[in-house]
């Protein structure tokens, strides 16, 4: 059976070769002319993007303010300031947003590693899954529908990733007293200080706390983190090295904050018993 299919595929290919030999046209000049025009279009588009990027940057085109196509550069990297938005380049948005759909800890591995690996393996396996010689679009409904679904889902994920809201530290500082009231730690000075650190350290770019925050990268909600009673020592150790405590966690180390501030953060987390 299988060899019959192989014989058929070989026959189709031999026929293709004979047909092209008999009725095809030489690559040069016609096809090559089309290739040349298309390549020129590509180069012009790239130059155009570079020009728009530079000349829509406000001021003297040297600033870190975004133009139409984004910033020329952000502020210099500072491993000490943790208030960051872990945002990849736009063509990774579909993966970036995929991670929001999955929740720590049950299924986040599926989003970070599982689905991309499966997608890559499926792509490699495609010619061995689809073994028919048939190439006409109307006779390949399964392949075409699968292709359209992939394009739509990648488009939606990219769009959602691009428009995902980001939490900004300066606005969030104003929410601290409301959090403290809801969670009932207004009298605990260390916890309130920790909450302020929490607001400005970029934690809410991924985590959710009392309705604020970004829900990125499968980060768990922290509104009732203290109710789990993991203890201040655990919280500090986890902040220093998240993946040591939770293998597989993509959270970066916050050891750069220093022991004193980590203790405040840990106190804040342990005082967050859930909103009342």
């Amino acid at each position: 059976m299988a060899s019959e299919r192989l014989t058929e595929r070989r026959r189709v290919y031999q026929q293709y070769k004979a047909d092209v030999k008999e009725r095809g046209k030489p690559f040069f000049p016609y096809a090559m002319w089309h290739d040349t025009i298309m390549s020129l279009v590509v180069v012009v588009v790239i130059i155009g993007l570079a020009v728009v990027w530079k000349y829509t940057t406000p001021g003297n085109h040297h600033t870190t303010d975004p133009g139409w196509l984004g910033k020329l550069y952000d502020n210099p990297a500072d491993p000490g300031t943790i208030n960051f938005v872990p945002r990849p380049d736009w063509y990774y948005y579909f993966l970036f947003y995929l991670l929001r759909i999955f929740k720590w800890p049950e299924s986040v591995l599926l989003g970070t590693i599982g689905i991309p690996t499966i997608a890559l393996l499926l792509l490699i396996a495609l010619p061995f899954i689809d073994l028919r010689s048939e190439r006409r679009i109307s006779r390949r409904p399964v392949a075409i529908i699968a292709g359209i679904l992939v394009v739509i889902s990648m488009g939606v994920l990219t769009f959602k990733g691009a428009t995902a809201k980001e939490a900004l530290g300066s606005e969030l500082l104003g929410h601290v007293s409301a959090w403290a009231k809801k969670e009932g730690y207004t009298g605990n000075q260390a916890a309130v200080k920790g909450a302020k650190l929490f607001a400005v350290s970029g934690c809410l770019n991924c985590h959710v706390y009392n309705g604020d925050g970004g829900q990125n990268l499968g980060a768990p909600e922290l509104t009732a983190e203290g109710a789990k009673n993991k203890g201040i020592a655990f919280q500090i150790a986890h902040l220093k090295c998240p993946s040591c405590k939770n293998p597989g966690s993509p959270m970066p180390s916050f050891a750069g904050l220093g022991d004193d501030r980590l203790k405040l953060l840990a106190t804040f987390l342990e005082s967050s018993k859930g909103s009342k």
Binding site: Y13, V20, V42, I46, P76, V85, P88, I113, S133, G147
Partner: protein, 265 residues
Amino acid sequence: MATRTKPTRGQQLQEAINYPLDWVEERSGLVGGIKYFLFRKVPGDVNWFQTLGSATFTAFLVQALTGVILAMYYKPDPKDAYSSIQHITNDIFAGWLVRGMHRWGASVFIILMFMHMGRVFLFGAYKFPRELNWIIGVLLLAMGLGEGFTGYLLPWDQTSYWATVVGININGTAPFLGPFLAQFLQGGTYINADTLSRFYAIHMLMIPGAIAALIGLHMYLVIRLGVTSPPWSKEAAGTGPLEQPSQNGTARSGLTRPGTRKDGR
């Protein structure tokens, strides 16, 4: 005895051109190879969509060229990386253009790879005997995305730094290989000064070398196996078995392929 006629100017010119070509041809076969490349037959109805592959290659060449120029000024060291990027963007003549072309050429390259892949998928051009070339293409796509990931860190600004921290952490979560991959990328247990130079080496030597080699193989296979015709093509080469003139002359016979070919016209 033949009299020796003086060669005309045209003949002399011809000989002057042919001599070096023949010299190269005799020693390498390159001229014949290029002739074969240029004058090989492709189906008569190749489509504009089929220029996406060479367009992707052009985008790669733009990346290679602008990358080499950037490498002349960029300093892969946490102390100097950011200021060298500012220097390229603001001080060097047309530096902003070269960097802008590299930065946006990356996006164009990746879009074109996806479009080219979509075209191959739509045309069913991954089918026998082109399976291997499809796999090479998938590897090229993965490597192109790897270029995007490693290049993103190089400006050493806040966005690139923290995106890479999280990106490496995500790599580290993979079962079995993950921790090793993360450690290899970082050059240590944590992101450090060596991480930047390591990303730089991967970005400008390791992956581009592999991409160039695979593109060569990819194109070799395209030339060897031939270009597919669009799947909607009526007269095109190698259409499927259903379009064969039917033996017992049912309605389908002669619909899309003239039956005359059978007797070896």
